[in-house]
């Protein structure tokens, strides 16, 4: 049970240099489940996630959590599409979010050791995080997000650079987190993964939400012709 | 018009006399005098290197050496002013009533109030050192109250103003000085405080490129009745600063 949901977007738009990156979007994100956002490249998935999380400024409309923003921010984590690594060691990257919260030292160390082994980076703890391979960075970014025990977790294509086994491992981690009460919203281009994980799904096109439905209806009976085309692999933004 | 480079000491420039003389020179003989305001030693070096055409300084021994070594052809005295003792208006060392410069210095050494020395081997500094010597005292043995500041006349006066200290200055610089703070002119008039300025043209045999012709022209003007009149009539606050004393050759 999270305390910061539901999240309401009211007529949210993002304009940059006169271009509309995100059309007017209104939606409510309520508790429980795992929402998958799909859509072609450049359709605004990342922009939508960032707007929800509050790292992208909206040009119009409102983003409202159930609690004041400052408080809500405390209970969210975000994994960026291109992982952002602090220029520190792998271990220090994991420590960082805990240190921000003034967690006692030994709790920090146990947590770090625990998460490092969960994502299979226990042998690379002392390596500079910027030197990790693409897939390793993604796993580290995910662990750094989960180590905060967020109530809401945003993931922007977290498995793009992962091999099959890692993908499976991450999916398992996400399921665990979900069972522990974390609300997950993620984008992916892997429709197989989308089907495996989603409880409900959103289809974006040209900055707008074209279709939003529970997973079953979404994948088995797409309503709009665009989504049907997308599933056939026909739409290129 | 033609340019001549003349190295002068800070005390000459700070006196403000140049602002009277230079326009007149330009007017009378069409000469643009470019002043290089530097320390005495540096002025002599500029002359030795041939970087200026003439120098105007007030440090007799150094001037004579300059001529002796062949850097200048001769030394021509132009004018003089005098040195004065400046100090806190309250005058803790009571030098105002001294009978001579030497007595004044002895009083200062006796009470040991802050005293600022130029400390830069300039004409003024050398004068101060010779006065100490006459007074039978050695600045090297003085305690903290004796401050050798190693700067030009103006900078040293600024320091003295900040420290409320005694200092030996030339009258011209003092009268023209804007940051007097609590300082006042306490003692002057002893013939020992006489300050002679001399003009030295750089020897064209050492440095063929120097404009000796212009230097001679300038010297002629500086020793002319017109210069005498301007120098003698230059006043600040009603006080005459310089006395023309060039001898006709």
């Amino acid at each position: 049970m999270t305390t910061i949901l539901p999240l309401r977007l009211e007529d949210v738009s993002v304009l940059r240099k006169g271009k509309r990156l995100l059309g007017p979007v209104s939606m409510t994100l309520s508790e429980g489940g795992l929402t998958i956002i799909v859509g072609p490249n450049g359709s605004g998935k990342t922009t939508l996630l960032k707007v929800m999380h509050g790292v992208e400024r909206v040009s119009a409309g409102r983003v409202r959590w159930a609690v004041p923003d400052e408080q809500a921010q405390h209970h969210q984590s975000y994994v960026f599409q291109t992982p952002i690594m602090l220029r520190r060691s792998v271990a220090d990257n994991l420590r960082y979010p805990l240190q921000l919260r003034k967690t006692p030292r030994d709790t920090v160390e146990t947590c770090v050791a625990d998460w490092a082994s969960r994502i299979g980076l226990q042998d690379l703890l002392k390596l500079s995080a910027t030197r990790l391979s693409g897939g390793e960075k993604q796993r580290l970014a995910l662990a750094r997000a989960l180590i905060r025990r967020p109530e809401v977790l945003f993931l922007d294509e977290p498995c793009a650079n992962l091999d099959g086994a890692s993908t499976r491992d991450i999916e398992r981690l996400l399921e665990e987190a979900q069972q522990a009460g974390t609300r997950i919203i993620m984008t992916t281009h892997d429709l197989g993964q989308a089907k495996r994980l989603a409880t409900d799904a959103i289809f974006m096109l040209h900055g707008c939400i074209k279709e939003a439905a529970p997973a079953e209806a979404f994948f088995d009976a797409p309503q709009t012709s665009e989504l049907q085309a997308f599933f056939r692999g026909d739409i290129i933004a | 018009s033609e340019d001549i480079k003349l190295a002068v000491t800070t005390s000459f420039e700070n006196s403000g006399l140049s602002e009277v003389l230079l326009p007149a020179i330009k007017e009378d003989i069409g000469l643009d005098v470019q002043l290089l305001v530097v320390g005495t030693g540096q002025a002599l070096r500029l002359g030795q290197a041939g970087d200026v055409d003439a120098i105007l300084v007030h440090s007799r021994a150094a001037e004579e050496k300059f001529v002796e070594e062949g850097y200048g052809t001769y030394r021509r005295e132009i004018m003089y002013n005098d040195f004065v003792f400046i100090g806190p208006a309250a005058d803790p060392a009571e030098i105002a009533s001294s009978s001579s410069a030497v007595v004044a210095l002895q009083k200062i050494a006796g009470t040991a109030p802050p005293f600022v020395s130029r400390g830069d081997d300039s004409g003024t500094h050398k004068m101060e050192l010779s006065l100490w010597e006459s007074a039978g005292l050695d600045p090297a043995e003085f305690a903290d109250w004796y401050r050798a500041v190693g700067s030009g006349m103006g900078a040293s006066l600024n320091t003295a103003a900040g420290l409320d200290a005694y200092i030996l200055a030339d009258r011209a610089s003092w009268l023209n000085f804007g940051n007097k703070a609590d300082l006042a002119l306490l003692f002057s008039g002893d013939p020992a405080l006489f300050n002679q300025y001399a003009f030295l043209a750089v020897n064209p045999e050492k440095h063929p490129h120097v404009r000796n012709d212009l230097a001679v022209k300038l010297e002629t003007w500086l020793t002319s009745p017109r210069a005498a009149e301007l120098i003698n009539s230059y006043q600040i606050n009603g006080e005459t600063l310089f006395t023309f004393n060039a001898q006709p050759r």
Partner: protein
């Protein structure tokens, strides 16, 4: 204390009455420092960038020395330039001593290490980003330097402005090589030093405020120019 206010009001009057002498020495200040800046940038930007991209045996030492040269005392630079340009020095025949050219030379020596150091620091980061791509595209060293300077131009602004600032406020070196000759080589800073020596603090401060205003003006101009370029991150 009152000197400061007197200085401000004197500065105000000097400026509004467009004092011709002030105008002349201000322009000379600008001319000398901007010329020195252009020359120094032409040397320092490529050189600093080169240090960022090229690994060679004594690179670390070279960078240390460059950084240390930022501490070159202007008076010493002035002295050395003086000795070289003096009539009895090796370049005496050029007759450059006590001319604005000599002042430009001294300033170039003083600000080049500063600009090169900051350039090196700014370009290191960009090079780390571009490294693989530029090597992959088989670029020559000259092409790399050009690309980095162009794409990092916004970061190099600080380097140039720091150099300009150091140049325009400098007094020790240009006093020695320029000589502070009225109507020929007097610039704002040497004029300030002169007035300070005379104890005329109000006028010295007034000139100082004019100088600061000039520096702010140049900076705002440059920022405004670079703003007309695309806004935002880069």
């Amino acid at each position: 204390m009152s000197d400061i206010f007197e200085g401000l009001s004197a500065a105000f009057w000097l400026v509004v009455t467009l004092d011709p002498e002030l105008l002349q020495i201000s322009l000379r200040s600008l001319q000398v420092s901007l010329t020195a800046l252009v020359i120094a940038c032409a040397i320092a930007l490529p050189f600093g960038t080169f240090l960022a991209i090229r690994r060679f045996r004594y690179r670390r030492l070279a960078i240390s020395v460059l950084n240390a040269l930022m501490g070159l005392p202007p008076v010493v630079v002035g002295l050395i330039v003086y000795i070289l340009l003096s009539r009895s020095g090796p370049f005496g025949v050029l007759g450059l001593l006590f001319t604005p050219t000599a002042m430009v030379i001294a300033q170039v020596i003083i600000i080049t290490p500063l600009i090169a150091s900051i350039t090196h620091q700014a370009m290191r980061e960009l090079w780390a980003e571009y490294h693989d791509l530029l090597i992959s595209l088989n670029t020559s060293a000259a092409q790399r330097i050009r690309t980095l300077i162009w794409d990092g131009r916004r970061n190099l602004l600080t380097a140039a402005l720091a150099g300009f600032g150091r140049g325009i406020g400098e007094v020790g070196a240009i006093m020695i090589v320029g000589g502070n000759i009225d109507n020929a080589t007097r610039v704002l800073t040497t004029a300030i030093a002169l007035e300070t020596g005379k104890g005329d603090f109000a006028l010295a401060l007034a000139l100082g405020f004019v100088l600061i205003a000039l520096a702010i003006g140049v900076n705002i101009c440059i920022h405004w120019l670079s703003r007309t370029e695309r806004e935002g991150r880069w």
